[in-house]
Point group: C2
Chain length 145, copies 2
């Protein structure tokens, strides 16, 4: 079990960019502590490199790129999440430092979605094969009768 209790129990250490979210903004959240298949602890970690590359490749005002210390998906190597207010949230693993373009493409696709679901059609292959989990928005359960 590689998950670090000190990270899990402590305050989330967030390296956030200077941005404020709009209601339809897609947030790409990248785990900056992820190791690659070599398992090396060398810094910068491959996850951080992926975060930096994704931020550098993002030119859309409706997409923001954030890094956190751990997404808890340590068994599936480089990890990232796609989230949008009121929509399902998605976690992907098995990424590489070269996955930045796929994450931006996935975020753009997600932004076009009107039903809160990241479309399967048109999704980069790495975001199909690498799907780890998805979580529904809490709004989905409100006012059910």
């Amino acid at each position: 079990m590689e998950f670090d209790e000190t990270i899990a129990a402590g305050d989330p250490c967030v390296e956030a960019s200077a941005s404020a979210a709009s209601d339809d903004m897609v947030t790409v959240i990248i785990c900056s502590s992820c190791r690659d298949a070599s398992g090396s602890d060398a810094r910068p970690r491959p996850g951080e490199l992926l975060g930096d590359a994704t931020r550098a490749q993002n030119s859309a005002s409706n997409i923001r790129v954030e890094q956190v210390e751990c997404l808890g998906n340590c068994k599936r190597r480089l990890s990232a999440a796609l989230t949008k207010p009121g929509a399902w949230s998605y976690v992907f693993g098995d990424l590489t430092p070269d996955s930045a373009g796929d994450l931006i493409a996935g975020a753009q696709l997600f932004h076009t979605s009107t039903d809160g679901v990241l479309p399967w059609r048109g999704r980069p292959d790495s975001l199909k094969r690498g799907l780890v989990a998805r979580i529904p928005p809490l709004a989905l359960f409100k006012d059910k009768t």
Copy 2:
């Protein structure tokens, strides 16, 4: 890849209980389509049994139990998520139909948390070993400078 495109692309099929969320309510979301290690398609699926058992064991007004068709975590068998408004969201796998008590215990622990993090100490072992991923709340990135 067992993830079902028709579920991914379609409207999320939700079997929700009649409840409305309060600001500190913990929602346990259980994948009702999950198979166990046998891989059997027989109905009811083990995931549905886990959902029914968890709902039956829940007597807390600040915890609600919901079922969805797929949490996308098909590689790790029975799956569930713990969510709370403004807090990190957690996905767990490798659960069994007997994990209902652990999910309720985890939800109660989560409800006591004041920092948005599910405590590691006191967490049932199945929710340590079975951690699949966690996603930070979007509020974590708001108004960063």
